[in-house]
């Protein structure tokens, strides 16, 4: 079958699965609906992998392009909707699908009792989420991207507030929903401006039309508006406030998806929109884009790392670590080189496995001890050495320890960033050390009981402790196999990414194709094959290995120091104002969103000539 023909199926298959589950779920036994959900998710994953393996090779298949319903553009003017399976988008669709399969297997034993007469509602929602993510990764149309953005958003709000019996998930879901939807509407305003200027909605068509003219205020405004919504999804500072609230309270399997791939899709959206629409002479100059995204990326990485270190609620800690890693991804995109893109792509793949595995371990703790509080759990999980080992490996991989995929991705991305500015190397090392160190610190305390028992009342300012209800019907006694096998498999996958050389060279080709603006537009609009440039595939280099080892050593040192000597009140008081920003108040978050849009405008204004 033609590769391009598979593209609509990647989006349609999970939607059909969700419809089947909604129609039959309540009559089926729990086991049958779970198996059905897994089957549809697996079929989608296989389709996405097929597209991925066929795309990116020289020839007409480099960019499989499908005009849905056969509505091809006439004379360069588009009327139909296009799906493009470029290697990077197809790779993200495959990643999302594989993670969905892992999550469905994990939640097999996770939700002990589905609500009465609602069997099948959870896998159905997850499948719709998968359709939204795959659609967003594969679309070549700006308005379609908005629709898929909102589709995955709406399902994510519903999944965050899935446990409607408790107040906290509802609060998190509300903040998530309001801030993300507002971001989506801002994006839609930008899309409308682009349509007003060009009369087109496809990435490639808009880009070509823009390049026929000069950049002006309207193009800049459209860029700022479109990017704002995508940055909200990507949780860049100061658009990030919804993320910790939502991730801390969502059911653990949902956290694995939110942190593992949904947030990263926001970064992908920014990169995709820039490279296909605004990268030409009629868009935004490269220097201006780099400046804007670099500032936001550095802020995000630093603030995320600081807040991550401060947390004792394990899921919030992991959520803030996602924020800071998003900052690193944004920096990788900001440097605007193929190496930056491919390094970041590999980093995202490795990070997804590691972060999902860490959330899975946190979920085991939650279900066994009814808490994810680092202080409360001190030494209590000594009886779970397997989970402890997985958690420690996850923490080390998060630091970028070679030969994990996250380590190789970090090495390539930081080298690409280092070419732009030398101090970015130090930032990569520092941020991955602090976030990995925070995870290791929590692991040492919870699973090994190292150091002094932390006393309460030391910190000043607001504090979120992690005492909650377990998500299974009753507390777990023995740990079921899927709850251990899934994180182990995810970590193994992350390791494989860094070890198998074919992965690195495929990601390298994907990065080269992704940054070839003209090639993308020619293959989408003229049906001409894109040339895959030849380059030396990235591999482990001495500097990358050394820096990875350095940040791991730094993380272990930080974790050991923190465990031996608990934080002094002075440091905590110093950082209290930063923590107070995370107020849990929707109005504050919206105000920050507006401030962020203004900041983005200020950073890109020199682009108007």
């Amino acid at each position: 079958m033609d590769t391009a023909r598979l593209l609509p199926l990647v989006v349609a298959a999970p939607l059909i699965g969700a419809a089947v589950l909604v129609a039959t779920g309540r009559r089926l036994p729990r086991l049958a609906s779970d198996v059905l959900g897994c089957a549809f998710a697996t079929v989608t994953a296989v389709l996405a992998l097929l597209v991925l393996f066929r795309a990116g090779h020289p020839g007409p298949e480099a960019y499989p392009v499908e005009w849905v319903g056969g509505w091809r553009p006439v004379g360069g003017r588009g009327v139909g909707i296009v799906l493009v399976g470029d290697p990077l988008g197809a790779g993200l669709a495959a990643l999302a699908s594989l993670l969905v399969v892992a999550v469905l297997v994990y939640s097999w034993r996770y939700f002990e009792e589905p609500p009465r007469r609602h069997t099948g509602s959870f896998p159905a929602l997850i499948l719709v989420f998968q359709a939204g993510m795959c659609g967003f990764a594969l679309t070549g149309d700006l308005f379609n991207a908005f629709v898929f953005f909102e589709l995955m958003g709406v399902v994510a709000y519903a999944l965050t507030g899935f446990r409607v019996e408790e107040p906290k998930p509802l609060q998190g879901a509300l903040a998530f929903g309001v801030v993300n939807s507002l971001g989506a509407y801002v994006t839609l305003l930008g899309i409308t401006l682009l349509y007003a200027r060009t009369g087109e909605l496809g990435f490639a068509q808009i880009g070509r039309k823009l390049d026929a003219g000069e950049p002006d205020g309207l193009v800049l405004a459209a860029f700022v508006l479109v990017t704002t919504g995508l940055l909200v999804k990507a949780a860049a500072v100061p658009f990030h406030f919804w993320l910790p609230d939502a991730h801390a309270v969502a059911p653990t399997p949902v956290c694995m998806l939110l942190s593992g791939v949904m947030v990263e899709l926001g970064v992908y959206g920014v990169a995709r929109v820039y490279w296909t629409v605004f990268a030409g002479p009629g868009g935004l100059a490269h220097a201006d884009f780099t400046r804007a995204l670099l500032v936001l990326g550095v802020l995000t990485a630093l603030l995320g790392a600081v807040m991550c270190w401060q947390q004792r609620h394990l899921k919030r800690l992991l959520a803030f670590s996602t924020v800071s890693h998003t900052g690193l991804f944004l920096i990788g995109v900001a440097v605007l080189t193929p190496e930056g893109i491919s390094g970041t792509a590999l980093y995202v793949l490795g990070h997804a496995g590691v972060k999902a595995a860490l959330f899975a371990c946190a979920g085991v703790l939650l279900d066994r001890y009814a808490s994810v509080d680092e202080h409360e759990l001190f030494g209590r999980a000594r009886e779970l050495p397997e989970v402890g080992a997985l958690f420690a490996v996850g923490g080390l991989a998060l630091c970028g320890l070679p030969p994990f995929g996250s380590g190789l991705g970090k090495a390539i991305a930081e080298e690409a960033a280092g070419h732009t500015a030398g101090w970015l190397l130090a930032l990569y090392v520092l941020v991955s050390a602090v976030t990995g160190g925070a995870v290791l610190r929590a692991g040492l305390r919870i699973f090994a009981g190292v150091g002094r028992r932390p006393r309460d009342g030391q910190e000043s300012g607001p504090e979120t402790t992690g005492e909650e209800e377990p998500e299974t019907g009753r507390r777990l006694g023995r740990i079921p196999v899927p709850l251990l096998a899934v994180p182990a498999a995810l970590l193994a996958g992350s390791l494989a990414l860094g070890v198998i050389p074919a992965v690195a060279s495929a990601v390298d080709r994907a990065g080269a194709l992704f940054t070839d603006t003209g090639g993308y537009r020619r293959s989408v609009l003229d049906g001409r094959a894109a040339a895959v440039p030849a380059s030396v595939p990235p591999h482990w280099q001495a500097t990358g290995i050394l820096l990875g080892l350095l940040s791991t050593a730094l993380a272990i040192t930080l974790a050991t120091l923190a465990v031996r000597r608990p934080v002094r009140t002075g440091t905590a008081a110093l950082l209290a104002p930063v923590r107070r920003l995370q107020s849990g108040h929707i109005g504050d978050y919206v105000a920050w969103l507006v401030a962020g849009t203004a900041l983005l405008t200020v950073l890109t204004v020199p682009g108007v000539r």
Binding site: F143, V147, E150, G153, V154, Y157, A158, G161, V164, E165, E166, P167, K168, L170, Q171, G172, A173, L174, A175, G177, V178, S181, L182, A184, Y185, L188, L189, T192, L193, Y195, A196, L201, P244, D245, A248, V249, Q310, G461, P462, E463, T464, R579, R580, Q582, S583, G584, H585, I586, G587, D588, V590, A591, V594
Partner: protein
């Protein structure tokens, strides 16, 4: 065609955002979100409007008659569907929050600080 519809769209958006920032009631906040979304409808329709254009239905009009842009109408319709879904879901969350938490004042929801 004047610049007025564009200014109106911007004004509606800003009013909605102001309401969201200062809201003391979550139902009101969800309403304000719907207001910000209305600005996208206005902007879309303003972009697609053509002076003297009629509805883009060619059943009883000559095929060369001047019509407004049908694409933006399709976009606005899609937008409305998306907005209805979001609003309904958020309102359902607020209803549930009122049941479990006993309040719809965002100032009283402080369990997720720091």
């Amino acid at each position: 065609m004047t610049v007025l519809p564009y200014l109106v769209a911007g004004w509606i958006f800003l009013i909605g955002v102001y309401g969201l920032v200062t809201s003391r009631d979550l139902i009101h906040a969800v309403g304000c979100l719907a207001v910000t979304q209305s600005s996208t409808y206005v902007l879309l329709l303003a972009v697609g409007y053509r002076d003297g254009g009629t509805a883009p239905v060619f059943a009883d009009a000559p095929t060369d008659s001047r019509v407004v842009d049908p694409v933006v109408q399709a976009l606005a319709l899609t937008d409305i569907v998306v907005g209805a879904t979001v609003t309904a879901l958020l309102l359902a969350l607020v209803v549930q929050l009122r049941k479990r938490h006993g309040t719809v004042d965002p100032d009283a929801l402080s369990e997720l600080k720091g």
